[in-house]
Symmetry: C2
Subunit: 212 residues, 2 copies
């Protein structure tokens, strides 16, 4: 599997690391971390990551093309013609076009979700129709060759689901056990349906500040 995973300034790195760690444990994968150039890219955690390949060096016809999300950083790449041209071009040639979190907005802005069911971070779900996509409230959504995951931590579930979809259950089970993925969230606070009103208000407020 030839995999190209986009990175960009101020992205949310856990969006990337769920599928990246899972797929790096999937035998036979050749994974590229791609950006305009191979200089370190800052993330919203303060830690920078280093692309392995520039856009020019990326697989022409990747088996999987992937976009992670973020907040202000994502809004910036939606307006970046170099990123849009890269995603649209590689997306047209990719076997699978995928995202986690607001990475779905990157796919959408590149014209890659028009007519597809998709998901994204719960705070951004209402934006998907702007790109012709049909929003689905789900941990991950597979519609033909488009696969989208929900917010941030959904990338782990999404990454395992893609392995199962392409390579079968046993391959995904091996990776799940290697990653010791038997989650025990300390609270019931992972979605707006589970969380209390005080928590939802606090998170919405912080999100609006991050984008302002």
């Amino acid at each position: 599997m030839n995999i190209s995973m986009l990175v960009y300034p101020d992205m949310t790195p856990l969006d990337l690391l769920g599928p990246l760690q899972a797929w790096s444990l999937w035998p036979g994968c050749d994974i590229q971390i791609v950006w305009k150039n191979t200089q370190p890219v800052p993330t919203d955690t303060g830690m920078a990551v280093v692309p392995t390949h520039s856009f020019d060096q990326a697989f022409a016809e990747p088996d999987i093309l992937f976009a992670p999300g973020g907040a202000a950083g994502t809004m910036a790449v939606l307006k970046d013609p170099d990123v849009m041209e890269f995603m649209a071009g590689r997306g047209a040639n990719a076997s699978w076009v995928t995202s986690v979190c607001t990475g779905a907005l990157v796919l959408g802005a590149a014209g890659l979700l028009n007519g597809y069911k998709a998901t994204t971070h719960w705070l951004a779900l209402d934006l998907l129709p702007n790109f012709g996509a049909q929003p689905v409230k789900s941990r991950w959504v597979i519609d033909r060759n488009r696969a989208t995951g929900g917010g941030i931590t959904a990338g782990i579930d999404f990454g395992l689901a893609i392995i199962a979809e392409i390579d079968g259950e046993q391959a995904a089970k091996n990776v799940q056990l290697t990653m010791e993925y038997s989650p025990q969230p300390p609270f019931q606070s992972g979605t707006p349906d589970e969380a209390d009103a005080e928590t939802i208000a606090a998170v919405r407020s912080a999100f609006e500040q991050a984008l302002s």
Copy 2:
């Protein structure tokens, strides 16, 4: 909160990203990514990460000191006197001494788990008594000011648990909702107690190859 998070060559970056992403959403944290120098550090996914501070520049008395795990990369740092000296020195001055996955072996080799209950990746649990630690099969373990998480993905649960422990439930719930942490693992294959024999054998074999 002043937080120093160790990185090192061939570490498992998802071990780091669980708590790093959670803590970066925790108001008032100043997070350092530390290594011997600030050159990019390769990880076991093929993607490098960039330290923000060298050992010399790291907080003298961090509120939280953290070590991630890995396979061969972890075995190498256990024998690295510079890393052991840094961890032992900062660990003696830290309010909290913490790890995810085989990062517990790094704490242990630096003398920081002697007499403490701790956990680590299920494949490494039997190694903890070598460092005077008492192994506990649990998603995370808090014993006085030592906090250790299980394998790889346990870092998310661990990261949220630490926020709750230090700053209360509401702070942790806010971060959990922001990270949309309502996991839906595709299979029951996250621990050796859940997984089938074929999966356990495959993962043990891959682990032995990785260390050989």
